[in-house]
């Protein structure tokens, strides 16, 4: 409860900052038009990195606050990588030291995929696959999880990932190789044992 209260006050502070810092409505509108459409993807990254709904929501809101504030530094081009880089920084710095760096399984009993919406019966089988895939991804160690999410879920190129994580393209490739090797191990054991 204490925690929830703290979060709420944090959000209110964000709202104030956003409103008072930015006076240019045209700029804000431009920001809204190009940044808001990527909200789901930004949220997806935060959610996989932090493995916790409330923290991910806070991180995404903080990301949009920072992005708007520093919108002048955005030099055109693709905005997705820019937003991903910001949300990643937020995840690393503000919220996540304890979660992102540690590789312990999520302390939340609530599964990662709980917000998957209504499921037509015909899709139950596929849905279960999605659940187990999400679970496998969320169990990868931080930097490998990050590489896989950026590549396979958010569909970025090696160069874009390299720019975001501040590492050479070769590192991206080897992290993806490691990440997929780990996933493959989990995948194969899930196939043979059958996951719950």
């Amino acid at each position: 409860m204490m925690l929830a209260g703290r979060r709420r006050s944090h959000r209110i502070r964000n709202v104030r900052t956003m409103k008072s810092d930015v006076h240019d409505p045209e700029r804000a509108r431009r920001f809204r038009d190009i940044a808001l459409p990527h909200l789901d993807e930004v949220y997806t990254l935060a959610r996989y990195l932090l493995r916790n709904t409330a923290d991910a929501e806070d991180a995404v809101q903080e990301c949009y606050l920072r992005a708007l504030k520093h919108f002048d530094t955005f030099r055109g081009g693709a905005i997705r990588p820019w937003l991903f880089a910001i949300v990643r920084n937020v995840c690393h710095s503000t919220y996540a030291q304890r979660r992102f760096s540690g590789d312990e399984p999520s302390e939340e009993a609530q599964p990662l995929w709980s917000e998957a919406s209504e499921t037509p019966e015909a899709h139950v089988l596929r849905q279960r696959d999605e659940e187990s895939i999400r679970q496998m991804v969320s169990e990868l160690p931080g930097q490998f999880r990050e590489a896989i999410v950026l590549r396979e879920i958010n569909d970025l190129s090696y160069q874009e990932i390299a720019d975001i994580i501040g590492a050479p393209v070769g590192t991206v490739m080897s992290r993806l190789a490691r990440a997929r090797a780990m996933l493959r191990t989990a995948w194969l054991s899930a196939e043979t044992e059958g996951r719950p």
Partner: protein, 259 residues
């Protein structure tokens, strides 16, 4: 090339990130190495499964609202997700079923502007797209054969939408259905690239002018709109905007080639 080298490079290969020279080297190695061949097959399969699964997560509506509310211009916006027009509408145009005859007759340049009606149309398009995905009702006529899909619309609509076969261009035809945009029945032609569904809505245009395509992102979806030969087209998909642009250009090119 050793297995060790190949085991890393094969990831760049399946991601399409290798230059031709290296790609050939890896392929040559894999062709002669049963272990690496099995490995790459498994990775491809795994990658395919990941791509076809929906691993993205939707941001909670509450978060979206909170961020929208925090953006400075929000005070002038209605609480609905569709933004109200911010420019004065000179032309109430580009809405399906809207009569533009007066403007067309006057020979005025067809200026495309974002208007309230425009927003209404785009909102409808997003809803129709989402509905088609959620309700598992993508197509009334389910066929990858253009000669099955095209005639199906006969008698159901007052237009005959073109249904080009774009398989060779990387867009698979899934089928067609009737849908409603802005209160008007329209043709929805459904294509797919990888696991991304494209809904292409087609309706009668108020004039035969060709208007070049323009793209717009709305609620995370990309759209492309154009009109040609008396038909108005709106394509929507979660595909990246450049790929949707590619869809449009392939679509028009194929029609022009007379396929």
């Amino acid at each position: 090339m050793t297995c060790e080298e190949a085991s890393v490079l094969l990831h760049a290969l399946i991601d399409g990130e290798l230059d031709a020279g290296h790609a050939r080297e890896v392929e040559t190695h894999v062709a002669g190495c049963a272990r690496c061949a099995a490995e790459i097959a498994q990775y491809r399969e795994m990658r395919q499964a990941m791509r076809s699964a929906n691993l993205r997560l939707a941001a909670p509506q509450a978060l979206r609202s909170r961020i929208e509310a925090a953006l400075p211009s929000s005070s002038v916006l209605a609480p609905t997700p569709t933004p109200t027009p911010t420019r004065r509408s000179l032309l109430q145009g580009f809405a399906l079923g809207t009569v533009l005859s007066a403007v067309a007759a006057s020979g005025a340049v067809f200026v495309v502007m974002r208007t309230a009606q425009d927003d209404q149309v785009l909102g409808d398009v997003v809803s129709a797209h989402l509905r088609s995905l959620q309700a598992d009702h993508l197509a009334d006529v389910l066929s990858s054969d253009q000669h099955t899909v095209k005639p199906w619309f006969n008698g159901r609509l007052d237009v005959a939408p073109p249904v080009p076969d774009l398989t060779a261009q990387g867009f698979t035809l899934l089928g067609g259905r009737l849908d409603y945009i802005d209160g008007q029945p329209v043709a929805a032609i459904v294509y797919k690239r990888r696991q991304h569904v494209i809904n292409l809505f087609v309706a009668a245009a108020p004039n035969p002018n060709h208007t070049p395509a323009r793209g717009e992102a709305i609620q995370g979806f990309n759209t492309q709109r154009w009109s040609d030969q008396g038909l108005r087209f709106i394509a929507i998909s979660d595909l990246a905007s450049d790929e949707l642009r590619e869809f449009h250009s392939k679509f028009e090119a194929t029609l022009r080639a007379g396929t």
